[in-house]
């Protein structure tokens, strides 16, 4: 039960790149992924910036090797999950007990939106092939089948903390000796549903988002997928390449304050970070970099900042929100940022927090604003908080 679980490979697709190498290059060039809406047919085009993956469905389908008629959610998921599995290059994968634990928040909503236009006019209309596979679990199933997963698949949906929960559920399946290898993370594609949803909450910034800045006005929605390959100690010993790191700590706590807003003192965030530290047997001073949830909304950044101040003050490790590059990828964000955290440990990187100028008045924290290489990084803390008070923190540690 207390055996370590290692990360043997990673895969990612976001607005700043279609694979790991492209994402790292964008960080180095400090090049954000936001821009005008080009893929969604919405009245918000030209008004609200989003961070789109820079490939249409046809191109994505080609990359993924499946039909372009499938939900974009599946296409994104398969591209990143396959990169992760190839990266891990596990000898004898087919003979191991394998699992796929993926997260998303709106399943095949991109297709259901099309279906609904016709369905609303006449309940006997609307192409069923656009809706039969709507549910979140179908996204996981199609990708799992493509990856050759035979033993266990499941899907988690806890809003914006979804894929962080998927990753540590995956690790626990290994610790409980149920599986040997788990590909875990999450995906979400941009949809009119979520774009309009966040717009009604008035938390979308009309400019590019400014996480942790005093003049921040909200988040930019993004899309993408990020997966890590978790392996048992036994499998780790069979690999022909170095391990990326371990998942040393994790915690899921609930803010229990409001369905969408964070408590002013960041109770849930504090408990998640503290719980993850305690699970890893680490002190706050052991953390070398925090990958913030840092959405750029006034409420999140203030609550998260307060929790960090309470737990880490007065000596803060470098911190940044990579959402300033990728936008908020919702159900994918925990997976996307887990990949960035793993790469931070593996390559000694700290990512810049773009567009930060003025520390928040109530919580004056200063994120790192430059891309740094060659850093001595042993432990990285990654935060993912969501609607419903769901707060999850993960810690990735050097082997």
């Amino acid at each position: 039960m207390n055996e370590p679980v290692y990360i043997a490979g990673v895969g990612i697709i976001t607005a700043i790149g279609n694979n790991v190498a492209e994402n790292l290059a964008a960080f180095q060039q400090e090049k954000a992924g936001m821009g005008d809406i080009t893929l969604l047919n919405t009245i918000h085009r030209g008004n609200l910036p989003v961070a789109e993956v820079k490939l249409g469905n046809e191109a994505l389908a080609q990359l993924a090797g499946i039909s372009s008629k499938l939900s974009r959610t599946k296409l994104l998921s398969l591209v990143a999950a396959r990169e992760a599995l190839n990266d891990a290059a596990i000898p004898g994968f087919a003979d191991l007990r394998s699992g796929f634990v993926s997260a998303n928040t709106v399943g095949g909503m991109d297709k259901s939106e099309d279906f609904f236009v016709d369905f609303l006019n006449d309940n006997d209309k609307g192409k069923l092939r656009n809706v039969f596979d709507h549910e979140c679990g179908s996204m996981t199933e199609v990708v799992g089948d493509q990856l050759g997963i035979s033993d266990y698949m499941t899907t988690i949906s806890t809003a914006c903390s979804s894929s962080a929960n998927a990753i540590f559920y995956g690790a626990r399946l290994i610790k409980n000796d149920i599986l040997d290898v788990v590909i875990a993370g999450g995906v979400d594609a941009l949809a009119k549903f979520t774009l309009n949803g966040f717009n009604t909450l008035m938390i979308l910034d009309k400019e590019y988002c400014k996480p942790f800045d005093d003049h921040r006005e909200g988040l930019n929605l993004g899309e993408g997928a990020g997966y890590v390959v978790l392996v048992s100690d036994k499998v780790a010993k069979t690999l022909n390449k170095p391990l990326c790191c371990t998942l040393s700590g994790y915690n899921n706590s609930n803010d229990a304050y409001h369905q969408t807003a964070s408590s002013p003192d960041g109770t849930g965030s504090y408990m998640a970070m503290q719980g993850a530290l305690s699970k890893a047997g680490l002190q706050p001073s052991d953390i070398d970099y925090i990958n913030l949830h840092g959405t750029g909304t006034p409420n999140n950044d203030s609550a998260e900042g307060t929790a960090i101040t309470r737990l880490f003050g007065p000596d803060y490790p470098p911190m940044s929100s990579t959402k300033s590059f990728t936008g908020h990828t919702l159900g994918a964000s925990g997976g996307v940022e887990a990949v960035f955290s793993v790469l931070a440990v593996k390559h000694g990187l700290i990512y810049p927090n773009l567009r930060f100028k003025t520390p928040m008045e109530d919580v004056p924290l200063t994120p790192e604003t430059h891309y740094l290489e060659g850093q001595p990084i042993k432990n990285v803390l990654s935060n993912s908080f969501g609607f419903g008070g769901n707060c999850t923190s993960l810690i990735f540690s050097a082997v």
Binding site: I156, F193, N252
Partner: protein
């Protein structure tokens, strides 16, 4: 470590909620859709809050609160739910408004409550429970995934007194779409005749069922949850048999040791062929029960089956309405539940008297 079911509460299409007789007055429905009998929510939710809540949230919260009350637990160590389709009513409502209002002047409430974790979140909010909180949304094993999470938490020693449930609501929209997809029968029938028509399709259902799991022996416990297992896309009926036998063997049992098998028959020819093959082989000499004529078919219906099994063991009786043939042991001590979801996801649960 032994894991116990301390309490359970079910809102279903039958009279199962609160202190009621054990399925002695089954309700007959004519049609292809069974709707849950909803309790008076004011005992569980502030009426002001309840007005804004969709049915799945109200059913989920009420079942969870009743379950905690029956266990005498004020603060669970974790809250975990499973739901395949989540908060459909709010999802459909927001989607409809996006189209009808052409993305302008949309009210946010439906969007806020549309996320799949709303039920688990609302329970946490009402209890001010800061503990572990998770929601699984994987088709026919959403509830099974939640249950596995609960079992692992208990084994890891990271939480105790775990509240775990399965929830699903049937909306007009989902019913229409699933009917068009051919899931349900094309003509109205009595749910009591579900297994007799030998035809394509089943009847739709919904419900909210919660359980309180712990690792403490007590005379109040309903049953021991000995083991659970899921398997995916078996190659053949023989493969299914092998999986079930291996599951029992791992628990040092054979099929002869099982007093009652609860199966997921749902009246659909193709679906039931899997169970009928077993009836002629591995299950040939076993006493069997079915349940989907009572609650309808829905992705988390295994939570209803687990409620049924827990009560069968605790009360020491098998309600006549669930008997699928002769019941040899009238007060079963060992109960196996076997369900499959469209022959993709297969699920086993083993319960024992404490």
């Amino acid at each position: 470590m032994k894991i116990y079911i301390r309490s359970t509460a079910a809102i279903s299409a039958q009279k199962t909620f609160g202190y009621v007789p054990f399925l002695t007055e089954p309700i007959e429905y004519t049609g292809t859709r069974l709707s849950a009998i909803e309790p008076d929510y004011k005992d569980f939710v502030d009426p002001k809050l309840a007005r804004r809540m969709s049915r799945i949230i109200k059913m989920g919260v009420a079942a969870a609160m009743q379950c905690l009350k029956d266990a005498g637990i004020e603060m669970p160590g974790a809250i975990i739910t499973g739901t395949a389709l989540g908060c459909q009513e709010d999802t459909v409502s927001f989607l409809t408004r996006i189209i009808e209002l052409q993305e302008e002047m949309l009210p946010p409430t439906a969007f806020i409550q549309s996320t799949h974790n709303t039920v688990a979140a609302q329970i946490a909010l009402m209890l001010k429970c800061h503990n572990y909180n998770n929601t699984f949304v994987h088709k026919g094993i959403s509830f099974e995934s939640a249950l596995l999470d609960a079992i692992m938490l208990l084994k890891e020693g990271d939480a105790n007194e775990i509240l775990v449930g399965g929830t699903e609501e049937m909306t007009d929209t989902a019913f229409k779409i699933l009917t068009r997809l051919g899931l349900y029968k094309r003509w109205p029938l009595s749910n009591f005749e579900l297994y007799n028509t030998k035809s394509k399709g089943t009847i739709g259902g919904e419900g909210a069922v919660f359980f309180l799991l712990n690792d403490k022996p007590s005379t109040e416990n309903l049953a021991e949850l000995v083991s659970t297992k899921t398997f995916y896309k078996p190659k053949s009926n023989a493969d299914i048999e092998k999986q079930i036998e291996a599951f029992l063997a791992k628990n040092n049992l054979t099929i002869q040791d099982i007093d009652l098998i609860i199966t997921g028959k749902n009246g659909d020819l193709k679906n039931d062929a899997v169970y009928e093959a077993l009836d002629g082989s591995l299950f040939a000499n076993s006493s069997k029960a079915y349940y989907k004529h009572l609650c309808g078919e829905y992705p988390t219906s295994m939570s209803f089956a687990l409620w049924l099994a827990s009560n069968v063991i605790k009360r020491g009786e098998v309600p006549a309405v669930v008997a699928d043939g002769e019941i040899k042991n009238k007060s079963p001590k060992k109960v196996l539940i076997y369900n499959h979801y469209q022959n993709s996801y297969h699920s086993l649960m083993l319960l024992s008297a404490c």
